[in-house]
Each structure stands twice: as structure tokens, then as C-alpha cells.
């Protein structure tokens, strides 16, 4: 038996620290906060304080559902500190939707506990490794739709966030991964991908959210494709809940 159970450390109260990164709606020279993506960090002082290590570990342990639930609980517990007029985006593994039949009722219960309307929630579907139970996954997607939640496909263009996922989820938002966004203004190949995803979103009746926006030149490039939802360090790093209200007021 191990002297040290990392999963227990992550899941104990206070193990997950929620952060909130604004997604900006840019119109002309002005930008306002459209949504907040709920992000998570593991226990401070451990390897899991880095989100990449945290979620790679969780996926290797095949405990996505437990940790997805813990991340949502931790984020919603701080909702009283957040503006009520913005969307809240939560990351959920496709494997959680496919394997955890109680997930959608759980989300509804936690949301209700914190007086968050389901129509305020966008579920960002993330997946790194198939397979998941296709039928259960589609049922969970239908339940989320019926409950009023919006849907996004995260990391479009990478890994399992592929065309099949787009058809299965029929998302409201396509989140364009930072790999394609960073330096798109200087790279014709990246612009080609941005153009293709924008066209795809139009066909799906969805909007593109560009992640990893760091350079003003890239903003101009993205605006040229009529992308108006932008997220990245150029606007704000992930913020603790206490810092969100003042950021939104200043935006």
C-alpha cells in the first residue's frame, strides 16, 4: 500500500483551486466579458498544481468523472463572488459523459444549490483518448441540451476533438486551440486552419472562440475571420474568484 495517495490529496476538500479566465466579446475597439471559463489547479506545492500534470494524471488513473465533478463543485462554490450576467464554462471529459450516467443530474443539483441557471452554463467537452460509450455519451448530450445548457467542443483540431465529435455534440461553440491561434497573423498555414474552422462553425450554426490570444496582431487576424470571442493572456490570465468582479467592472 502506498504511503501517499495523490488522488486522495486532489479530491480532499480544498484540493482543487478554481480559477476563472474571461472570454471576451470584441466589437470594434471595445471588449466585454462574455463568459468565464472555470479552470482548475491541483493542491499547491504538489506536482498537480500544474494543470497539465493534474489532468494527464487523472486520465491515466481513469478517474476523469470524479475529478470533473470535484472541479465543478469547487468552481460553483465560488459563484457568489462572480458576476451573474456572464456564462460559466465548465470542462467535462467526453469519457465522463459516456461513463458517468449520474453526471448530468449531478451538474443540475450543484448548479441549483448555488442558484446557477442551467442556461448560464456552457459545457466544454474535452477528450484525449477514446473509447467512451457512444450511446451514453449521446444521451448525456441530449440531457444537457434539454436542461438548457450550451455546448462547446474544446481543443478543436487536436486529439479526439475531431469531426465526429462535432457531429455528435452539435456545439454552440467551437473552441479553436491556441496552437492554431498563436502567431496566426504571421503563419499562412495557421490562418488556413482558422479559416477552415470558421467556415465549419458557420455550417454548424456555431461560434468560434479563439483560445490563447496573446498578440494584438493575432486579434486583427482573427477579427478578419469575423471571430469575436477571444480568450487569452492578452485580455486576462486565469483569475481567482475574488479578482473577477473588478476585472469585469474595468473591462
Amino acid at each position: 500500500m502506498s504511503e501517499h495517495s495523490a488522488l486522495n490529496t486532489i479530491l480532499r476538500p480544498g484540493g482543487i483551486t478554481p480559477l476563472f479566465q474571461p472570454i471576451m466579446r470584441v466589437a470594434g475597439a471595445s471588449a466585454s466579458v462574455h463568459a468565464l471559463e472555470c479552470l482548475s489547479r491541483g493542491p499547491a506545492g504538489t506536482n498537480f498544481a500544474a494543470a497539465g500534470v493534474l489532468f494527464d494524471y487523472v486520465r491515466l488513473k481513469r478517474e476523469e468523472s470524479l475529478v470533473d465533478r470535484a472541479c465543478i463543485s469547487a468552481a460553483f462554490a465560488q459563484s457568489s463572488l462572480l458576476p451573474t450576467d456572464v456564462q460559466l464554462c465548465v470542462n467535462v471529459h467526453a469519457s465522463t459523459l459516456g461513463r458517468d450516467v449520474g453526471f448530468v443530474p449531478f451538474l443540475q443539483t450543484v448548479a441549483a444549490r448555488h442558484a446557477i441557471a442551467m442556461k448560464r452554463i456552457t459545457v466544454e467537452v474535452v477528450e484525449h483518448a477514446p473509447p467512451w460509450d457512444g450511446r451514453s455519451f449521446l444521451e448525456a448530450i441530449a440531457q444537457l441540451r434539454a436542461a438548457g445548457a450550451k455546448l462547446a467542443v474544446d481543443d478543436v483540431g487536436l486529439g479526439q476533438s475531431n469531426f465526429k465529435m462535432l457531429i455528435d455534440v452539435s456545439p454552440d461553440y467551437l473552441k479553436l486551440d491556441r496552437y492554431f491561434v498563436l502567431s496566426c497573423s504571421a503563419d499562412p498555414k495557421r490562418r488556413a486552419v482558422v479559416s477552415a474552422v470558421t467556415q465549419l462553425a458557420r455550417e454548424f450554426g456555431a461560434e468560434v472562440v479563439a483560445e490563447g490570444v496573446e498578440e494584438p496582431d493575432d486579434v486583427e487576424c482573427l477579427r478578419g475571420f469575423d471571430i469575436t470571442l477571444l480568450q487569452g493572456f492578452l485580455y486576462a490570465k486565469p483569475l481567482p474568484a475574488e479578482g473577477v468582479a473588478s476585472f469585469c467592472a474595468a473591462a
Binding site: H4, N47, Y57
Partner: protein, 130 residues
């Protein structure tokens, strides 16, 4: 010791015994290495997926892992970075496991217990002769 080399070298310790991890980390950090530690195979794999290491020092008897199966860590390391050196430690090593560890790409196989100074000397030698 080549100080410049030591200052930039990053070591990952993989062992489920906290006291051993603490002692080894303290000793190696005292020599100027940057040291991370993992207590489970999956934690080590997650670190390897996110960072580059010059050397991995791993105990074969990780949680839930025994015998030849513990050699999975060598494959994980070399899949990520073929240039990363690997020292395997085991209190229960057999000639078969030792032979198989070299077949899979481990650089050194040490029977436990070993003095920290001895492990550090082997580590330094490996890092200086990459």
C-alpha cells in the same frame, strides 16, 4: 563535477516511499540538481508527458506494480525522450529482472539499499557521459 551541467540537469525520482524520496531529493538538490518526485507510476507518466528530464531514478516496486511489469517506466521514459538516462532501484531484483531492465533500455540497475552518495555518484557519471 561540471557545475554548469549539474545546474541545468533535471532529475525525476519515482518511488512510493516518502522517506526515501525526501532523503534522495534533499541530497540531489544539495548537489545542485533540479529534482521532481513522483510516488505513483501514473504521476511519473504525467510528469514525463509535461516536462523533460535528463535522468530518471525509479524504484521498480511502485504502487500496484511488481516484477517485470515495473519496467514499464523505462518504456515510458524512452518513448518521451530517448536521451533520458534511467537508473532502476530494487530491493527484490532477480537476475531475470536485471537482464530485462537492460533489454528495455535502463542504463543502471542497483540493488537496494544503496547509500545516497553512491546513487549520486552513478547519476553524476551518467549525466556527464551523455
Amino acid at each position: 563535477m561540471k557545475l554548469a551541467s549539474v545546474q541545468s540537469d533535471r532529475i525525476l525520482i519515482v518511488d512510493d516511499e516518502e522517506l526515501i524520496v525526501m532523503a534522495m531529493r534533499k541530497y540531489l538538490e544539495g548537489l545542485g540538481y533540479a529534482v521532481d518526485a513522483a510516488h505513483e507510476l501514473e504521476e511519473a507518466q504525467a510528469l514525463l508527458a509535461n516536462y523533460s528530464y535528463d535522468l530518471v531514478i525509479a524504484d521498480l516496486r511502485l504502487t500496484g506494480i511488481g516484477g517485470v511489469e515495473g519496467l514499464q517506466i523505462v518504456a515510458d521514459v524512452h518513448q518521451r525522450c530517448p536521451r533520458t538516462r534511467v537508473i532502476l532501484l530494487s530491493a527484490f531484483g532477480t537476475p531475470e529482472i536485471e537482464r530485462e531492465s537492460f533489454n528495455r533500455g535502463a542504463d543502471v540497475f542497483l540493488q537496494k539499499p544503496r547509500a545516497m552518495m553512491e546513487i549520486a555518484t552513478v547519476a553524476r557519471t551518467l549525466l556527464e557521459h551523455r
